[in-house]
Amino acid sequence: MLFTIFAALTVAGAVAAISLRNLVHSVLSLILAFAGLAAVYLLLGAQFIGFAQILVYVGAVAILIVFTILLTRNDGTFGHSSQASWNLGALIVIAVFGTLAWAIHSSTALHHAPPPQPEATMQQIGTALMVRFALPLEVIGLLLTAALIGAATIALHEKQERP
């Protein structure tokens, strides 16, 4: 029952995000979809992923999108896109959906009985991140830091050019 509600919320948010005309409304609907997804994670007993989803996506990514919209457009609305780009978009969407559906349908995971759900505590996740997956974590951290410094450099450069 709860899953149905949250799944409906997520899908409704996602549909609203792509169909609303006002970009800020789209972002707010996207936030609703993110929150619904977080609720589904929590329902599955994945506390860490659920809260991280809210912290990262609702608290950071959505705000980032908002800033991007407000700094690049004046009124937050956009015109109608052409028929050709609609057709292309629909084609890509159908192709991606078909591939994913086919992959899920033909995967062996569906035919096995789901293993008994291991209750992953925060401590286990932390230990796994810090011991077994320490190197990937460091690499991602380095990558993000480089991206951050790069973004700051670009922004600074623009400032100096201004009279």
Partner: protein, 403 residues
Amino acid sequence: MTALSYNSLHHSSPQAADQIFVIVQHWIVGHAPVGLQPLLAILLSVVAIVGGFGLLFAITTILERKGLGRIQNRYGPNRVGFFGSLQPIADAIKSLTKEDIVPQTADKLVHLLAPILLVLAAFSVYAVLPVGRNMVLVNLDAGVLFFFAIGSVTEVAVFMAGWSSRNKYSLLGAMRAIAQMISYEVPLILSSLTVIMATGSLSTVSIVEKQAGYTGILPHWFIFTPWGFAGFVLFMIAATAESNRSPFDLPEGESEIIAGYYIEYSGFKFALFFLGEYLGMFAISGLAITLFLGGWNAPLPFLTWVPSYLWFFAKLLTLIVAFIWVRGTLPRLRMDQLMNFAWKFMLPMALLNLITAAVWHFMPAGPVRWLVSIVLVVVPYTVLGRNQMHKGHLEKRVYRFAE
């Protein structure tokens, strides 16, 4: 999730006064049909949280107005009730009866939802705050993470309020508020990370339990370690910025942008913004108490007979008074000072404090550990602080956009 943690908890203390609220709750729940008991238990706790912290909000408003009045050599409210003590009630009636004005060009739905979302987020974080022994709504395994995750929803509410009002001042205020919140969230989380490193847990309840016990008469609170002290100071500065209070009240800046993101709100919605702001301040102070000030533990070993929730609220009121004092004392920062302070001082200090906490954790206990940790805190503070002082103040300020 352990929604029913109350029922499974055994009473670790036989004192009735300490556990009176828990016992009363059990008694009321015991009369309900079995199927409704979990729901009723949660409902009672929620009512207690909303009522208790709502009352604290009323007390704080009168305390703040009276205190600021004292600091600024005036009386403050003194017309309603004995020495103005009934002023909060008058304020509540006023805000309930005022006309609710929504600007014609405003985005009506978003304009309506913003204050509701803000207050919802502000109240939700109280679910993981242990206000007394056995007195926490849910003991989440990821409690601190939950706190910060829900806290970040506030930014969305602030943006919704600022954008939907269609007012340049409210949009400016919202942008300022969000930029400030994002900047200060980093040192806030990094400074609380030291405690999580020390306890090895994200659960607020076990963090408080780890701070129980005394050496001589000194309690085992984390503030009494070098990294804990530095972490507490960093945390409180970031918390002041997070809750948009003076000297970090640029988002409201009356003299520049009138009132920031809630300028187009009136009546009860305006009161909701006020409520949300104060609730945020209480919640983050409560988290500071939980992380650094030993939660509901008594400060001295011979005072443990005082009920635990009284200690929590005594510490909370102390922090609130400190907030009011700071507000009455310090002038507002400028935007560039605010950002420089966050990224060039708070962030390096918080990162170095993580190293200090790690050194403290791995060194054997003794005076050498104290010495090394204190050096690790004081030297960066002096170097960074002096560096900032020399850079910031002595050169002529150049205006790029205004002349």
